[in-house]
């Protein structure tokens, strides 16, 4: 998964959208809000933890992430209110890896690459 966004918050949100698309199948169930907290100051590792958290919600609670309602990104980590829909996610993603992991900031842009284990 390669993502480019204007801000770090937008990049983490785009990553959620990408995972949601991979997992989406029958998502006709009710909407559910979930607070997701991941800790760590290093952004690349934080992105891995964030994706793993979303995959875990899909695997254990059949929740497909749809969007981020609120996000607080700090030096300590990330706290987000995630809007999900209960459904029957396609369990195609097992988790995110550190393989070839990259997170780079440049003028007006943030880029990341994370390899998913599928």
């Amino acid at each position: 998964m390669e993502i480019e966004a204007a801000t770090e918050e937008a990049l983490f949100t785009d990553a959620l959208h990408a995972v949601g698309e991979l997992l989406e199948d029958d998502v006709s169930g009710p909407q559910v809000l979930r607070e997701v907290t991941v800790n760590g100051h290093e952004r690349a590792a934080l992105l891995v933890l964030w994706l793993d958290e979303l995959v875990f919600l899909a695997e254990t609670e059949d929740l497909v992430p749809e969007d981020v309602e609120q996000m607080e990104l700090s030096e300590r980590g990330l706290v987000a209110m995630v809007r999900c829909r209960r459904g029957r996610p396609r369990h195609v993603v097992k988790g995110a890896t550190y393989h070839d992991l990259a997170f780079e900031r440049s003028a007006g842009c943030v880029r990341a690459r994370v390899v998913l284990d599928v």
Binding site: A58, E59, H91, K94, G95, H99, D100, V115
Partner: protein, 484 residues
């Protein structure tokens, strides 16, 4: 390949018909040489992905000894290549979760039915169908056996032995005919996260997705009659091969410890070319905790394959009869993703095998007494529609590969690439036209495992035989396949 390419592939020099080496001096950070077991054709295929670069990365790990080794089925993995072997020296050499892989103790179990293919006859499709009804497939799908709390932890500590004692699953002979008797010592449930428990609590007896499958087969050819006799195999016999691992439980254990070790690289002054190689000294608290958690996942995986074998026996009982089910024997069960503490060349080593199988020769005290005169059985699943092989460990494995051989055909095309070349529906038609019964709920998953996405398994096993790592015992061909 051109003659120049034959002599030198990405800096690897052919030193024998089936051995290629890259000296440690090839890269400033390599500590040992890198060595690939392959013929020229396979080496050409191997060079098309990043696995040779990954093998060189493995050669940089602190405490690695001998060589970073690659089996002929090597292909690109996360951090470590799949089909790689790395032995590190105790006490301060490293242990790396990535050197074992996410599917800890992914492995293969072979069951032999007391039945010739002609006797199974018209029941073949019904048997494959019945197995598919009893075995949940796909990522995240739960099984009928749900264990929690202390009952779950006992499986982590004891493996299949506790499933036999408390649930009547399997037999004492099954346990005897399992690598390490289905139980790695030192398993400590306290080193396993709650998240791993949640993911694993309903996954005993589930197949999973990807390249995991369960195949009903017939023995097409006996290639070593002495070893086949000892293993109880005969031409025309029906077998069932089970390929699965530790499912989400093992995945979470690996994820947890890759993160743990990634966070302590600076403390141990370890510099890595890829973060997925995250590791810690075997003697460190992080290394010790990983080994204890990995043992839990390995024991869980043996438990998983024990439950899967139980479901197969239930299916045999229903379709062919209880007498046949009761006489269905487990030939052996081998792990191909695990790190084990072993003695080689007089030294205590931690042998990481990721997509590689232990292949101890005749006389080894580590293998069941019944097999000791010929060596340890090894199972090499082919891809769907192609042959699988039963091998036996040879002495060359001890001198050349820390007692290791290959684990499968080895992928040569990405899953996306396979899907671009064939649809699942078309592949299903092709397999069925060959008389192979297919039960797979996902056309996408089926297409990703198309036979052409893998290397030629016959070539792979020919290489390990020529290298003296293992010898061919029997060739198995598929009658039906169940996959996720």
């Amino acid at each position: 390949m051109s003659s120049l390419a034959q002599a030198n592939v990405r800096g690897f020099r052919q030193v024998d018909k089936v051995i290629w080496e890259l000296p440690a001096e090839a890269r400033a950070d390599m500590r040992v040489l890198a060595c690939v077991f392959a013929d020229r054709e396979l080496m050409g295929q191997i060079a098309t992905d990043r696995s040779l670069e990954q093998l060189q990365n493995v050669a940089t790990l602190p405490g690695i000894t001998g060589a970073a080794l690659a089996m002929p089925d090597i292909h690109q993995g996360y951090g470590f290549p799949v089909g790689g072997v790395a032995a590190t020296e105790l006490p301060d050499g490293i242990v790396s979760p990535g050197g074992v892989g996410y599917d800890i103790n992914c492995g293969v179990r072979l069951l032999a039915l007391p039945l010739a293919v002609g006797e199974l006859g018209a029941h073949t499709e019904a048997l494959v169908h019945e197995i598919s009804r009893r075995v949940p497939v796909g990522t995240g799908h739960g099984g009928a056996l749900k264990l929690k709390g202390a009952a779950f932890d006992r499986v982590l500590v004891h493996g299949p032995r506790i499933l036999l004692a408390e649930h009547g699953i399997g037999t004492a002979e099954d346990i005897d005919h399992t690598e390490s008797n289905g139980c790695l010592e030192g398993a400590d449930p306290a080193t396993v996260s709650e998240r791993a428990r949640v993911r694993g609590s309903d996954q005993l007896g589930t197949l999973g997705s990807g390249n995991h499958f369960l195949e009903v087969q017939r023995i097409a050819k006996i290639l070593d009659s002495q070893a086949a006799d000892v293993f109880g195999l005969r031409e025309g016999q029906v077998t069932v091969l089970i390929h699965s691992g530790s499912r989400g439980f093992g995945h979470q254990v690996c994820s947890d410890y890759v993160r743990t070790m990634d966070a302590v690289q600076a403390r141990y002054r370890i510099a890595l070319p890829d973060r997925e190689l995250a590791c810690a000294p075997l003697s460190s608290p992080e290394g010790q905790r990983y080994l204890a958690a990995m043992a839990c996942a390995a024991n869980f995986a043996w438990g998983n394959r024990a439950v899967l074998a139980h479901r197969v026996r239930e299916s045999v009982a229903r379709i062919v009869g209880p007498r046949i089910a009761a006489a269905t024997r487990q030939v052996y069960d081998v792990a191909h993703n695990v790190a084990k503490l072993e003695v080689h060349h007089g030294r205590r080593l931690c042998v990481h095998r990721k997509g590689a199988t232990r292949a101890f020769p005749a006389g080894s005290p580590e293998i069941p007494a019944a097999f000791r005169e010929v060596g340890q059985p090894v199972f090499i699943p082919g891809s769907m529609g192609t042959s699988s092989f039963v091998l036996v460990g040879r002495r060359g494995a001890m001198s050349r590969s820390f007692g290791t051989t290959c684990h499968g055909a080895g992928r040569r095309m990405s899953r996306t690439g396979a899907r671009r070349k064939i649809t699942g529906a078309e592949l299903r038609r092709q397999l069925e036209s060959q008389g192979i019964v297919v039960r797979c709920p996902s056309n996408r998953g089926l297409a990703e495992e198309a036979p052409f996405a893998y290397k030629d398994v016959e070539r792979v096993v020919a290489v390990v035989e020529q290298a003296g790592l293992a010898g061919r015992v029997a060739q198995l061909v598929p009658l039906g396949v169940v996959k996720g």
